[in-house]
Amino acid sequence: MKLELRGITKRFGSLVANDHIDLVVEPGEIHALLGENGAGKSTLMNVLYGLYDPDEGQVLIDDAPVTFAGPGDAMAAGIGMVHQHFMLVPVFTVAENVVLGHEPVRGARMIDLPRARRLVREISDRFGFDVDPDALIENLPVGAQQRVEIIKALSRDANVLILDEPTAVLTPQETDELIGIMRQLKAAGTSIVFITHKLREVRAVADVITVIRRGKVVGSAPPSAPETELASLMVGRSVDLGVTKKPAEPGEPALRVAGLSVIDHAGVLQLDDVTFEVARGEILAVAGVQGNGQTELAGAILGLQKPVAGSVLLDGTELVGAGVRDTLRAGVGYIPEDRSDDGIIASFSVAENLILDVHDRPPFARGISLDPATVEASATQRVDEYDVRLTSVQDPISTLSGGNQQKVVLAREMSRPLRLLIASQPTRGLDVGSIEFVHRRIIAERDVGTPVLLISTELDEVLAVADRILVLYRGRIVGIVPQKTDRDVLGLMLAGVPLEEAQVQAAEHHTALGAADIIATQEERS
């Protein structure tokens, strides 16, 4: 099936999310749609899927114009979508989820579950998915849940499969399996639209790459195009992908975490006897798949969560039991992983957000009286220094883009003398330009001698910024390895495989991305 989008335009008020976008997806093609957050990729796919009405333009299937009133129409026309956030009912089985919405019935309104099971098994076997139709969704790993979504789409005879940021939640090995599945589907004649902002994956799997920037198609490229070229197209200016930094000059250890364990409200051990040190002037990256104890580690150091055991010594001072306020005052800077939940107060002005943790201290307050003039003057200065783009520091911070909001958080946390910086997912959801900025700031902080704890689920980020890497799995440390560690080895460690075994396994089998890495290194050398 050939899919064509012709002159699609979608406006929201004065904002043009899609501006005359043309796109052709040939049968059996993996077509990557590359663009930054907010470039208009998801809007375009929602138009295609019948969720939005385009203001102009049309969708053609096999050269015949079609209109979709809703996802039902799109599905009927052979378009399937796997959303970034899965649309699955956690307490239902795989088979139940797959047939949800078009359940086969037998007799009087009885769901024909055996038929649903057969359907799942059939598709699963055809592509070697290895999915148990009777498993509960909530018991499946994320990668398997994603396969259920794909089965769901295929069970409705999808000829075109839209994958919206499918690798965001996967480990490198799971990503590798997904890439295998995409190639299989392609061989079976299914077209795939692959939405992403990750250059590496695009180059590994796509046949054609279309780059979107600010709602417009700005070009297309073959997968052989160098990463820097793709990045420049995506961002609209030349970008330096590599993070430039001097080798670390670690001083004596400043943060000593020993035997730290955290049990959450549900009584589950989330952090299990964790011991490590961070030296002055080095970045220790905590790598791990989301939900393996990183949140609890940061929370325990900051005082948001009380550990059940262990100690956190910062320059010899015990932080456990100190409380958030005193920990911050002891010189800990904290960039929270969930910006909108923990980092900022959306309805507060930029100026107010900049003093959240120091609002009751001079020069911002005299006694209990705030000094609005000083608050504003200081905010104006910080905003300049951190290059935050805004109209007025009195505007609510919710009017800023994610990148600028994060710069405000950085400005707040890093503009006082620090003895420790904890950066948790500092670049999540940011555009390339802001990511560069954040990385530069973090490295600059390291260079003045601050110990930095960087918590990240992005292996790319970990490899680019870290001096040493700590891998967390199920709340335990799998290993602490140097920055030069092989991507495949790290990927296996993220899944809980100890270092030595990971090295053996990685040597036997390279993932698509890991192999691409090696080729790239060889190319560089030659």
Partner: protein, 420 residues
């Protein structure tokens, strides 16, 4: 980004990833926020719309209108002129009873309604200011009624039981009232901070307890007027009374100045002090406040204590100013009117002050309306309720008046989401 889907089975708790899904704000919270963010235009139009609909009800309840309706098709003009007369005379009476009695023979009689409006509005404004602080700090305090009662009990007791010099006596009585209200509300704050008990339920129950407490106290020898069988206290001593502002022919007393001062104080507290900064931070995003080192629980207690102190002052205005005696219904329904007023005033001090005056006017004018035109005073309650109803449903008001849809802030956000 923040909601990184379910964690892998590899994680210790696959079904419930820690802090992966941001908790949806509860429906009550969303409604509260919606009400606070509605624009002045919507507020004004809601009042207009409420008056129009109430006008229809006034006409429908009028006996002349009812009789003309029986021959509506024979002589429609009778019906319409009767309806017009019923509505206009009722609203004219409402105006004359609450602001300026244009038909009064003397100047004093002419402006008396306005001073009555001001007098009645004092407890509503004071309690409304307290509730507004709570709403902005994320505390849905329904307990102003009980806090007013406790304020009146404390202030009243100091007022009739002690002999103190002029000036000092009223000051101590007022402070006592504030402490009484503050302590009563503090119970709810303390329970929420310590145990997480929902403040809505606790404050409602405290209202009930307060009503029965004052009923009991007024049967004890310490509170009951000697020689009386009625549940009523001895009269407040003259030294403890709020002085009259415009001479003794008006009931207007210095409590109105307290209300003005409290309005300015609350503005300063919420917009210019570190305490108010923390209150607002906790109310707008308690997780971010906690991450910034603000003790959310401590703030819950202080919010309630300050809100209760203001409600306590409302009680003092009743017992030391308007009623001059402590009785069972000293708080009337001011504690509940205050909720409406705080929402109508969008929890801002000036808004609450103006909304309090409006409700004072409706209450004062309602009596005149009933006396002069026979329109039931209950219609005032209908007007009040309709105003709140329309404030609570801004889209309804917007569609009635064909305003552009959606608040601008919300639409830009959805655009951003869509573009992402």
């Amino acid at each position: 980004m923040s909601d990184n889907a379910p964690a892998p089975a590899a994680a210790p708790v696959p079904a419930v990833p820690p802090s992966a899904e941001p908790p949806e704000p509860s429906r009550g919270e969303t409604l509260l926020r919606e009400m606070l963010s509605s624009s002045w235009v919507v507020t004004t139009l809601a009042i207009v719309l409420a008056l129009v609909i109430s006008g229809v009800l006034i006409a429908a309840a009028d006996s002349t209108v009812q009789s003309t309706a029986t021959y509506l098709f024979a002589r429609p003009s009778d019906f319409f002129s009767a309806a017009w007369h019923a509505v206009t005379s009722a609203y004219v009476a409402l105006f004359q009873g609450s602001i300026l009695d244009t038909g009064a023979p003397t100047f004093v009689r002419a402006i008396k309604p306005l001073t009555e409006t001001m007098t009645v509005s004092v407890p509503i404004i004071l309690a409304g200011l307290g509730l507004g602080i709570g709403f902005r700090a994320g505390m849905f305090n329904i307990g102003a009624q009980g806090q007013i009662i406790l304020g009146a009990v404390f202030g009243g007791y100091i007022g009739f039981a002690f002999d103190l010099p002029v000036g000092l006596h009223v000051l101590l009585a007022a402070i006592g009232a504030a402490i009484g209200g503050g302590l009563w509300a503090g119970i709810a704050g303390f329970l929420k901070a310590r145990t997480g008990a929902n403040e809505v339920i606790v404050t409602i129950m405290l209202n009930n307890i307060a009503v029965y407490l004052i009923g009991y106290l007024l049967t004890t020898s310490a509170f009951q007027r000697p020689g009386s069988n009625n549940p009523i206290s001895p009269p407040i001593k003259a030294t403890a009374l709020y002085p009259h502002l415009l001479g003794s022919q008006f009931r207007l007393h210095a409590g109105f100045l307290v209300a003005i001062a409290a309005t300015v104080f609350v503005w300063w507290l919420m917009d210019r002090s570190t305490i108010g900064f923390r209150f607002r931070a906790v109310g707008a995003n308690s997780k971010a406040a906690r991450t910034a080192g603000i003790s959310v629980n401590t703030n819950y207690i202080w919010v309630m204590v300050i809100a209760g102190a203001l409600a306590g002052l409302a009680g003092s205005a009743q017992v030391l100013g308007t009623e001059k005696v402590l009785s069972i219904d000293v708080a009337a329904s001011f504690g509940f009117d205050a909720i409406t007023v705080a929402l109508l005033g969008r929890s801002k001090p000036l808004g609450t002050f103006l909304a309090g005056l409006l409700f004072g006017a409706l209450r004062a004018g309602g009596f005149a309306m009933q006396a002069r035109t026979g329109t039931p005073i209950d219609i005032v309650l209908v007007v009040q309720s309709l105003i709140v109803l329309f404030i609570a449903a801004p889209p309804l008001v917007r569609s009635v008046f064909r305003l552009s849809s959606g608040s601008s802030r919300r639409s830009t956000r959805s655009v951003k989401e869509a573009a992402a």
